[in-house]
Subunit: 557 residues, 2 copies
């Protein structure tokens, strides 16, 4: 089965990640026999996913239908859109489509995993028209907080399925590259069956501030600074990086780059032509002392308070090369991502304590990469979709975006607020909710993919709350006697030294319990253990109001 | 030594909590032999204080100087100002001064700890002038997000030491009770040696919104609602509670109160006359089904996403009496306290999923209880202090408040940005930084006060990240033989079922290590254990990139 007449063409659209959550973006468009994946992102773990490094989508549906998966299209190079690739590609090595910068970043990422040689990377640009399987795909340029972002239009007999990627409309883009409004309008005029659009800022009225305004804010801060200037921002925000470099050049400062991810992305961007900087302007971190303070700019990571980042290390006085001076000016050119507020302000307070000038939380040194309500309306009005699916956002953002779509003329019952795995099926130009595909979180901890699940997490939560008490006893069953122990070992429960009496009494209780069991001829191990657990648990809760995990170990000789 | 001439009077001012942090407020003013404590609050634990319930100030300085402690003055009834009392009072049973509502709340709190009979509670009002020891203390009324809040003026020969408590200036207070601007001006005119002022909103320009505006926002939401209305707010914000009740009455709705702390505080406030409500308006939760939905208002707790709160239970469909209906309107009349953003939005998203109308994050249904920059300036200009100490705030807020004080005419070197324990000493009207007193965090976990410290927390952090592996072996040293084991038990590390091979190989490694040790006659237990730990740790990190805690247990028979 290849192309079919409108009468029988079946389209299925669903999300494996990215709806009901921020991050882990992965969308699937099935046009008859062609299964096309858009984005393949990761998410950072929630607070209750203890010890987990990253979270990726469950792709078991894709694996089960591997012979129909025609390719992965990437909208841009952010981790929440490309971060799951090293894991996905190991199970599903299909062609990957993306713009030059996006694939540049992907290639470096895959190289770290020794996967760059085995993948089929295919560069597209916003003018490309490609066939993925037998399905035609077009692109349109958007503005976002990373260059070279695109939206995707998948052409079907029933009309286009349009996926916006992350977008905003910046009327003064830093690189002079505007969003493709004309092309969007053309796609809209040809007929959009369904629009999947970015909901991140659906709760925010008005329009997002232009990146260029941020450049002016940064420049002003540069004019006012007397000593060194340290700017912390997202490494991938190359527009921002460019503007920092421009500000530095304007006041005759050199720029040094600190922080692993910043160094990496700056080098990729320079190689591919996405950063314009005189080699003369860049200096090595080791060389900053060769210049006077007012000739130095340090561009760094750590704007989210990441504990191991360059900025954190500077704040704690633990950076090998850079010690903050009271004459320094530190610009945090970012806002905390929800959940990071406390770690960011902790670092900011440490920076304030150094006596340096800290510019933080001021509106003109950062802007969002996502369109606000008026921009979302503009997208809807350009595309004039028959059906609408809000993506990229937590539930309430999707909910708000649905309301916006209705104000732009999408019919009430043509709006689908989908959750992960919900399938919307289109036939004869009509849509309906049609079942579910498997979806969920795969947790990555160290090298392990998916070997940390609910039981392990439950144990980690218990352990983190009140610690563990290990009780070891050696029994001789033949003689019904305790040969050695009980030894009680506490980790994360109480200070042993200050709780000697408590632990001693606990030991006495264990001995009594075991003796009683043996007298009563209860000698099944599982019963002995659960008796010990019950008795100790009750005793410790009464004495401390805590419930440590209790692990009885009975050795038999 | 009692009262002295100006020439020799010595005043010492310091914070045992509340500076460099939000919460745990406790300030000490020493006037010669009189030691006066202002507030005695708790703080909720940081994310890295795993398993800890609450944090209180280290009061060892007060204990060492117990014969000079004359009393504790409370500025208002919030937990971050009174929450440490049950612990402090057990060690230091001195008179407690506070307004009627504040002491009403304190009394209920102490009663829960069976302490209400043994304490000496002394009611003051904003007109009181009292002697604490031999020192005269006056009060002035402020506006805040709980009624009956006061500022404190401690009169000394060198001038007044003024402590604002938490405050804002509300030009349209809900209860018609205005801040005592005239009295503040009078205190200022008599001469303020030092002002300690609330820095919580020092980063926010302008003025805070009046609580009355919030009342209008709530009323509008009430007019628009068709089904039941559920309002979540802070229990102690009795102005807010009053306005919800007023709105309900205005549209002929009954009010039911749900959530332990809300029930408690509403009953205290009604008893003491701080809430005006017809008994006829209040109904029991059990009776809500006797009324039609548009006659019901449910006032509840949980605006901070607390997992066990009434609102959380409703959102999860786990509330015994209240099940959310799609026709309900839910008003979150609060903003998330920093650090609570994610837990709040998680609950809000669950509420959205029920299909109910959710009003969240809208500016007109909540306001702050703390004055913004223009109000801080007004306080400074009324008091005209010689010296200034910013309190109630994290470092950057105190820093901002210092800048504000300087714009209001306080001399640059008369501003002290103190950290916990820093002592400012005043003699002959001149101030200087004069050493430090002990200060710190006392962690409370269950019944234990201070028995959880760095080692226990470090263990909990390790356990929470990668779990624990317990390795048990029984040796016979005489014969140099392993009698039983190694048994390996994993908790919070990996699923045992999916990692059988890994754990089996780990067991083999342990056996090899022990055998080698015994051959080499290494038979000191600590050495055996550290060898096992090293070998296993290396092996597991290589295989999993995780570092579980490893607990080797060697039994000897």
């Amino acid at each position: 089965m290849t192309l079919t007449k409108q009468g029988t063409e079946k389209i299925r659209v669903f999300a494996l990640g990215g709806v009901g959550e921020i991050g882990k973006n992965m969308y699937v468009i099935e046009v008859d026999n062609d299964l096309i994946v858009i984005d393949s992102g990761l998410m950072f773990p929630d607070d209750d996913m203890l010890g987990v490094d990253i979270v990726i989508p469950d792709i078991s549906y894709l694996e089960e239908n591997r012979e129909r998966v025609r390719g992965i299209i990437l909208t841009h190079g952010h981790e929440d859109h490309i971060g799951a690739l090293p894991y996905v590609i190991r199970k599903l090595n299909v062609p990957i489509y993306g713009t030059k910068l996006t694939l540049g970043i992907v290639k470096a990422k895959l190289a770290e995993n020794s996967l760059d040689k085995v993948v089929d990377l295919r560069i597209i640009d916003c003018k490309s028209q490609i066939l993925v399987g037998t399905t035609t795909v077009n692109f349109f340029r958007t503005n976002h907080s990373i260059p070279d972002s695109v939206g995707v239009s998948i052409e079907t007999i029933q009309g286009s399925i349009v996926h916006t990627g992350d977008f905003k409309f910046d009327q003064n883009p830093v690189d002079g590259i505007y969003a493709d409004i004309g092309k969007m309008a053309t796609i809209g005029e040809k007929g959009v069956l369904c629009l999947l659009s970015d909901s991140t800022n659906a709760e925010r009225p008005g329009v997002s501030m232009s990146e260029t305004v941020v450049g002016q804010g940064i420049k002003e801060a540069f004019y006012g600074a007397k000593g060194r200037i340290i700017v912390a921002t997202f490494a991938s925000n190359l527009h921002r990086v460019q503007q920092v470099i421009n500000a530095a050049v304007a006041v005759n400062r050199k720029v040094t780059v600190s922080g692993r991810s910043m160094v990496k992305i700056v080098s990729i961007a320079m190689e591919l032509g996405y950063l314009k900087v005189d080699l003369d302007t860049l200096i090595k971190v080791e060389d900053i002392d060769k210049y006077s303070d007012d000739e130095i700019t340090i561009l760094t990571t750590g704007s989210q308070g990441e504990p191991m980042s360059a900025l954190s290390r500077m704040a704690k006085g633990a950076h090998r090369q850079i010690t903050i001076k009271p004459s320094d000016t530190i610009i945090i050119s970012a806002t905390p991502i929800p959940g990071n507020e406390k770690s960011v302000t902790k670092i900011v307070d440490l920076l304030f304590r150094t006596g340096a000038e800290v510019i933080f939380g001021q509106k003109n040194v950062h802007t969002t990469g996502h369109g606000c309500q008026e921009e979302l309306k503009l997208m809807l009005n350009l595309m004039r979709p028959k059906y609408f699916i809000p993506i990229h956002g937590e539930y309430r953002m999707q909910h708000e975006h649905c309301k916006i779509a209705k104000t732009c003329g999408v019919k009430d019952d043509h709006v689908f607020l989908i959750e992960k795995g919900d399938v919307i099926e289109f036939t004869n130009g009509e849509a309906k909710l049609s079942g579910k595909v498997p979806s969920g979180n795969i947790l990555i901890d160290g090298i392990g993919v998916g070997d940390v699940g609910n039981i392990v997490l439950r144990d980690r939560r218990l352990l983190s709350k009140d610690g563990i008490l290990v009780v070891v006893v050696t029994l001789n069953k033949a003689s019904n006697a305790i040969i050695s122990g009980p030894d009680i070992i506490s980790r994360g429960f109480v200070y042993v030294r200050e709780s000697e009496q408590l632990l001693e009494e606990a030991g006495v209780l264990v001995t009594q319990t075991l003796t009683k069991c043996m007298v009563e001829n209860v000698n099944e191990w599982s019963l002995l253990k659960s008796n010990i657990r019950d008795v100790l648990s009750r005793y410790l809760f009464e004495k401390t109001r805590r419930r440590p995990m209790i692990l009885p170990i009975i050795m038999e000789v």
